[in-house]
């Protein structure tokens, strides 16, 4: 088991390093481009000067790469021109907001999705299943930012039930210093997290429904029913436990979806997380921030996959027995 973990960890680190190399390659490619002229496919003149300054293009390539790698590993991700402070400081402010949003959305995604999937499986091929199935299909096909806009329109602008954006009330709660401020944060979090969570839940529900139906067709379920156990117990205790296993893989897939969705949802709700930071930085042609957020996002996805795989191995005794 530990050997497996070590191997996966090493693989994950290798992947992150490869991503760092890719970003270096991209930046270097841009730095070598002709710039100054504002025509198609050319680097913005502001960016050009800074690229050249950052790398000192007269040094040999491997030396530049080494310097870049060293800097990244030490957390020196450059200086943000827009905010006039180190990129790492901007990330430190933004990352917790994204984690909060994505984490809450993940919780909503899985609780709602699992519940819906189980319900659909229980009512398989009847009206409840079909109606919910189509609704889930529709919600899963929506652009997340469009759903966000619609919800914002209805709940914030027409009904004034939730705030129009931001993470907190800047007057009362610039610091998280009272329980009322916790409630304030939750109030601001409600709509963006719901937007992200609901779209993800739709996919989870469909997946979970199929997994449940597969499990419900198996022999041990028939046995449980024959023993006379209540249907609810069969569903929730016996079947669900086994159907949860495939959903753990869904957990790993959720990370890229949440991070991508976060970019757009954060923009719609002016939620100052990593995605919002990225898009603002693009408006300022502040490339160090954008490359840094890409790196962090990749690291998060890789970590998520690692966690999901570890969870799966821990949860499924069949794999362990195989002596991985």
């Amino acid at each position: 088991m530990t050997a497996w973990i070590v191997r996966r960890l090493a693989a994950s680190i290798a992947i992150v390093l490869a991503v760092v190399t890719l970003t270096f390659f991209l930046i270097h490619l841009a730095g070598g481009s002709p710039c100054g002229q504002s025509d198609a496919q050319s680097v913005a003149p502001e960016v050009c000067a800074r690229l050249r300054a950052q790398f000192g293009l007269d040094r040999p390539l491997w030396e530049q790469y080494g310097k870049y790698l060293w800097a990244v590993l030490h957390g020196e991700l450059g200086q943000s021109f827009w905010q006039r402070r180190p990129v790492i400081a901007a990330l430190q402010d933004a990352l917790p907001n994204t984690l909060l949003l994505a984490g809450t959305a993940l919780v909503i995604d899985f609780t709602l999705g699992l519940a819906l999937g189980v319900y659909q499986a229980a009512r398989a091929r009847r009206f409840g299943d079909i109606a919910l199935g189509n609704a889930a299909l529709f919600v899963n096909s929506m652009p997340t930012f469009w759903l966000g806009l619609v919800l914002l329109l209805v709940f914030a602008q027409w009904l004034h039930l939730v705030p129009v954006g931001g993470t907190h009330d800047p007057v009362l709660c610039s610091r998280l210093d009272s329980l009322q401020c916790v409630a304030d944060r939750l109030w601001h979090l409600a709509l963006p997290a719901t937007t992200l969570g609901v779209v993800g839940a739709a996919a989870t529900a469909r997946f979970q429904r199929n997994a449940m139906l597969e499990v419900l067709a198996q022999d041990f379920v028939r046995t449980a029913r024959a023993k006379g156990l209540r249907e609810r117990r069969v569903l929730l205790v016996h079947a669900l436990r086994n159907a949860l296993l495939p959903s753990i893989t869904l957990f790993g897939l959720a990370f890229p979806f949440l991070l991508t969705g976060a970019v757009l949802v954060e923009w719609v709700f002016a939620w100052p997380g990593m995605g919002w930071l990225s898009v603002m930085a693009i408006g300022q042609r502040d490339y160090p921030v954008v490359t840094a957020t890409a790196l962090v996002a990749s690291a998060m996805v890789t970590l998520g996959n690692l966690l999901a795989d570890a969870l799966y191995v821990a949860a499924d005794p069949r794999i362990r027995v195989r002596g991985a």
Partner: protein, 559 residues
């Protein structure tokens, strides 16, 4: 399997949870301010400041903030009269006198203190003048000080200004633009690094408000200085909340998340905000005008003329092609006017009779054809000698008004065979590109000074080159007319000279002047004594108050 009492346990957990939440919700707030000096005002702003160091920036969001932190020697009165010195209010200078026709002596108020405790001295005034006129700092306001020949300190509380000549607005020039800077804090920073110095993100001044915090993209907080010698500000905290666009500004105001804003832009927003029962609307003379400015020199290389806009006739043709009235009605409804030149409604020389280029699409088309711009390859775009009539308009993403205008102009130009693309960038980058001349055409908005004598030379004459004259328009005849208009002591004669100058500029068409909006400020009704000075709407913020009996929870909260 152990027996589970699931239902009762779950029920108990639910009850406990509900009780806990109820207890949390009823927690009393820590600290409670009472009386006349409480109050928190949240200002919703669509534009964010770039730097808070006065000489370096020309953005009005920056000015709104740094005007609370720094003081001038004296400030304009509510009448807006810029002639002579009778209508000016003492600020850093408690009194002044004329020691000759071109010599002005200021006596500083001995109570004035920098926010780090040091006294404000005349050495600071000298330092400030030096910084504003230093080419390394390259202040956009430098040209406004061109008629001052020297500033010296007679002693620690006396500053002497000497002018090159006598003219009506000498006092105005001496006091209006310069915010006095702390020499002891800025002397050590090399002048060419002022644009990126940390001081610009956390300034220390001598004004009624102290800088507290700035979260980029989110909010900026100022806190009242209770020891301010001209009177303690009644509003204790001022928070600028940065918001993507004016529609969100309006929604936040209506929902009670923000208290105040400078202006609302579209008629929709004005209707929504002024219709809300808790908000009060304060119309004031609009001090802004917007235009499509052409870059007369090549982008990035000011020694060469622009391949398209270096041609005066082409500019004139394009200016005649667009229907400014229709575009205005689309964007503003009835809440703006088409300016007769580079003027806002506040400017005293505003005269609708000023002659300019007419809207004449037929003549524009004829002129374009006569210049050789014809669509030789039938792709819908005119061309001449292999060059297409194609250019890009630089637009800031933060201004919904200008983005709308960009799209309207794009379509209008398309019907004339010009291919126009929009460059939409963030405000900070927009400002930098405009400043360095990296654009073909730019949609710019100016908040004008109360007198044309400082704003027009800064933007449209040779003195403004490299500073606010982004299009690099230079016409010696125009400069001469402006100089004479500024120097003339006779008001009527000055008006005639200004009109001739503006008409001359209109014929050259360095820009198409598009809109001069009416201004409506919005403030929550609980805020009393809201006085808005048209040229700088927050200038009198320190006199606004929230009476003790109208305080809300937000006002009472301690930080």
């Amino acid at each position: 399997m152990p027996t589970r009492p699931p239902d009762r346990l779950i029920a108990r957990l639910w009850v406990a949870g509900v009780l806990l939440l109820a207890a949390l919700a009823s927690c009393a707030r820590r600290g409670a301010c009472t009386g006349d000096y409480c109050g928190t005002v949240v200002i919703a702003a669509a534009g964010e400041p770039d730097i808070l160091l006065p000489p370096v920036t020309e953005l009005s969001p920056s000015r709104d903030v740094y005007d609370q932190v720094f003081l001038k020697l004296a400030d304009l009165g509510m009448s807006g009269n810029t002639l002579g010195d009778e209508d000016f209010q003492p600020q850093l200078a408690e009194r002044w006198e004329w020691a000759g026709p071109v010599t002005l002596v200021f006596h500083l108020d001995p109570r004035a203190r920098w926010q780090d405790g040091r006294a404000v001295t005349a050495a600071d005034v000298v330092f400030t003048y030096d910084a504003y006129t230093d080419s390394l700092v390259n202040s956009p306001h430098r040209s406004t000080l061109r008629l001052i020949s020297a500033v010296t300190a007679r002693d620690s509380l006396t500053a002497v200004f000497r002018f090159r000549e006598r003219y009506p607005e000498m006092f105005y020039d001496a006091v209006y633009q310069m915010r006095i800077l702390p020499a002891h804090l800025l002397r050590t920073i090399p002048r060419d690094q002022w644009r990126t110095a940390p001081f610009g993100r956390a300034p220390v001044g001598d004004g009624p408000y102290r800088f507290a915090a700035w979260k980029a993209g989110e909010s900026l907080e100022l806190v009242a200085d209770s020891t301010f010698y001209l009177g303690r500000p009644h509003i204790r905290r001022v928070i600028f909340r940065f918001v993507p666009n004016l529609q969100v500004v309006t929604t936040q105001l209506v929902a009670g998340e923000a208290d105040v804003t400078e202006q609302l832009g579209s008629p929709d927003n004005v209707k929504r905000a002024c219709g809300a029962p808790q908000l009060a609307c304060y119309p004031y003379k609009g001090a802004a005008y917007g235009y499509l400015g052409f870059n007369l020199t090549a982008p990035g290389d000011s020694t060469k003329p622009h391949p398209l806009f270096g041609d005066r006739e082409l500019r004139r043709a394009l200016a005649m092609a667009v229907d400014r009235g229709a575009m205005l009605r689309n964007v503003f409804g009835d809440f703006a006017k088409v300016p007769p030149g580079p003027l806002s409604q506040l400017t005293w020389i505003w005269d609708p009779e000023t002659r300019g280029l007419p809207h004449d699409s037929a003549q524009a088309a004829r002129l374009l054809t006569r210049l050789g711009w014809i669509d030789s390859d039938s792709d819908g775009v005119r061309d001449r000698a292999g060059q297409k009539l194609a250019f890009r308009i630089l637009v800031p993403t933060t201004s919904a008004i200008r983005r709308q205008y960009g799209r309207l102009l794009q379509e209008q130009f398309r019907t004339f065979g010009a291919d126009v693309q929009l460059d939409e960038v963030d405000l900070g980058l927009f400002s930098e590109r405009a400043r360095t001349g990296r654009f073909d055409a730019v949609l710019y908005t100016w908040n004008t000074d109360p007198t044309p004598a400082s704003s027009i030379p800064q933007t449209w004459t040779q003195a403004g080159l490299g500073r606010s004259n982004h299009g690099r328009y230079v016409n010696a005849a125009f400069d001469r007319l402006v100089d004479r208009a500024v120097a003339t002591m006779n008001r009527g004669e000055a008006r005639r000279l200004w009109r001739s100058a503006i008409e001359l500029l209109n014929q050259d068409a360095p820009a198409i002047f598009l809109f001069a909006p009416d201004a409506v400020a919005v403030a929550h009704r609980r805020i009393a004594n809201v006085t808005v000075r048209p040229d700088s709407w927050l200038a009198l913020l320190r006199t606004w108050r929230i009476p003790g009996d109208r305080l809300t929870d937000r006002d009472r909260a301690e930080r």
